[in-house]
């Protein structure tokens, strides 16, 4: 027992660093799903896109800040593409996202040139800031934590502006939006672009923190991000802008610690996706099970 607690405790800072970077995926899921009421799966491709593009640019000696910025823009483009497919051709947003992240897999291989690649030493934003950061887990927690808080505050500000409020209107009442002179398509494209820009930023940070890029780094991030979002919403709620914007960050921090605790107790890593899936199913099913008598969508 003490062994388990010790190994869990020992991993807390490392897990925190991971969760602060993977929180970007929870944010990237939250914006289309909760604000626009249009679920989006593109993050499974935009995370590795951000990572691979950053790695490829850094390998050519590109400035780390510039490489990260270009990765963010590429993520925005990926998200905008999914939204455009949905709006222009009436492809369901889920299928549009699957199409884009599947196609991005080929793009990422082309960009990186091989399935995985190490980054040239010290060519990353962390070392560019200060060489000491990558030596200390707690410095990384401080830096990434400050970044995450700043990002959350920026989103709270955004969704309280006139433009942000209009985006929320598109999500809650599709019929009303055009009658209020809101051009829904612009807000849907903008929301998807913003979401995937954030995810690609997470991908860019991940490769620079761990020192290598891998085209498979997006595999399964979606379900983890969704689980993190659900955990966060269970803890802080989602009925105000502040709560909804804090949920992905709080959820990611708690969720990854729970996973770490599970692994410390001897949970096999390969069982993790199954258990995460079960967890998401349970949280989605719970409200329906509690409202007995109404039956499921299939009328069973």
């Amino acid at each position: 027992m003490t062994d388990i607690l010790y190994s869990f405790w020992h991993l807390v800072p490392v897990t925190l660093v991971q969760s602060l970077m993977y929180a970007t995926v929870a944010f990237g899921i939250m914006i289309p799903f909760r604000i626009l009421s249009l679920p989006d799966l593109t993050c499974e491709g935009s995370l590795p896109l951000g990572g691979c593009l950053t790695a490829a640019l850094l390998a050519t000696g590109f400035n780390p800040y510039g490489a990260t910025l270009l990765a963010v823009l590429a993520g925005a483009l990926a998200g905008a593409t999914t939204a455009w497919l949905h709006l222009r051709f009436r492809i369901h947003s889920l299928l549009a996202g699957i199409l884009v992240f599947t196609m991005l897999w080929s793009v990422n291989l082309r960009v990186l040139g091989k399935p995985n690649a190490p980054l040239p030493g010290e060519a990353n934003v962390f070392d560019a800031l200060s060489p000491g950061i990558l030596m200390s887990d707690w410095l990384q927690v401080g830096l990434l934590g400050a970044l995450a808080v700043a990002g959350t505050l920026a989103l709270i500000w955004l969704f309280r502006t006139e433009i942000g409020l209009s985006m929320r209107c598109v999500g809650v009442n599709e019929r009303l939006a055009p009658a209020l002179a809101i051009r829904s398509a612009v807000y849907i494209v903008g929301g998807f672009a913003l979401a995937n820009a954030i995810v690609a930023f997470g991908g860019a940070l991940l490769v620079q923190q761990q020192g290598y890029a891998d085209v498979t780094m997006g595999f399964g991030v979606l379900i983890n991000g969704l689980a993190a979002l659900i955990v966060g919403e269970a803890i802080v709620g989602r009925h105000t802008v502040v709560r909804q914007m804090c949920a992905p960050l709080v959820g990611a921090i708690v969720y990854y610690q729970l996973v770490s605790l599970g692994l410390a107790t001897g949970l096999h890593p390969s069982d993790l996706k199954f258990l995460t899936g079960l967890f998401v199913i349970a949280t989605l099913a719970l409200p329906r099970l509690l409202r007995r008598g109404e039956g499921s969508a299939l009328g069973l």
Partner: protein
């Protein structure tokens, strides 16, 4: 005569064109509405009343014909552009407001309809003050519920809110699509009185679709009766003076279960 606020010319709209289910919803409707007129549109189910409002509001575009608002041709203007001039209240209380947003957030969106939007804070002290005053005028106690979510209001309160939203920034044209039909008779009367007050205070050009003949007679300055996609009768305020519900029914052979004759 002054320039009409609304000018419709030969408006034709067919649904499911080219299929066995093809239905001519409006057939060559031409109509002029003067500024400040309150036109009540009556007629049976499928007469083309709602289609006509959708053509004016831009939710539908006509197969043929022309829509002019305040002298400008807006026939091909998408709804979200036309909405700067044209405000509407829907039949379903769920449609006219955003249920997950608060009363004050709904009102901000209504203000932005006419003014456009930017990166400014949506909720400000001055806006709240204005909303409180506007809602207090209504006398329904909505001014104390600015921070409540619109979905928590009753159907009548939500229609009243939708009405305030539509008239907050005076539109060139106000479209009311059976906006009291989903309410009980007492609430319906309250919302109609609020409608009349708001419309009169701002001298709004209004087109109201209704199944309630009494409302049409009482509140309309003009009554347009539609049947089978066309205008069957057009009564000016002089024409309708002295007419009762029974006269209307008799004169136009109205046979419609949904008409409220009481």
């Amino acid at each position: 005569m002054a320039q009409p606020m609304i000018r419709l010319e030969g408006l034709r709209k067919t649904f499911n064109a080219g299929t066995p289910d093809a239905k001519l919803a409006t057939r060559d409707v031409s109509l002029e509405v003067q500024p400040g007129e309150f036109v009540a549109i009556i007629g049976g189910n499928g007469a083309g009343k709602s289609t006509l409002l959708n053509l004016i509001g831009g939710a539908l575009s006509p197969d043929q014909g022309r829509v002019e608002i305040a002298g400008a041709d807006v026939t091909n203007q998408p709804e979200h552009v036309r909405a700067r001039q044209v405000a509407r209240v829907f039949q379903d209380p769920m449609t006219g407001t955003a249920p997950m947003l608060t009363v004050e957030e709904n009102l901000v969106l209504a203000e932005l309809r006419a003014r456009g939007r930017g990166w400014r804070a949506a909720l400000t002290a001055s806006r709240r003050e204005r909303f409180r005053a506007d809602l207090a005028e209504l006398g329904l106690g909505l001014e104390d519920r600015l921070t409540a979510r619109a979905g928590l209001l009753s159907g009548g309160q939500r229609q009243a809110l939708a009405l305030v939203m539509a008239t907050l920034e005076a539109p060139d044209v106000l479209l009311l699509d059976e906006h009291t039909a989903a309410l009980d008779p007492r609430t319906s009367a309250t919302v109609m009185q609020a409608t009349q007050r708001l419309v009169a205070a701002r001298r709004l050009t209004t087109m109201m679709v209704t199944h309630n003949m009494e409302h049409a007679l009482q509140y309309g300055s003009r009554i347009v009766m539609m049947a089978d996609g066309g205008v069957r009768a057009d009564l000016s305020s002089q024409d309708k003076a002295g007419l009762g519900v029974a006269d209307l029914v008799q004169r136009f052979h109205i046979a419609d279960d949904r008409m409220i004759l009481s």
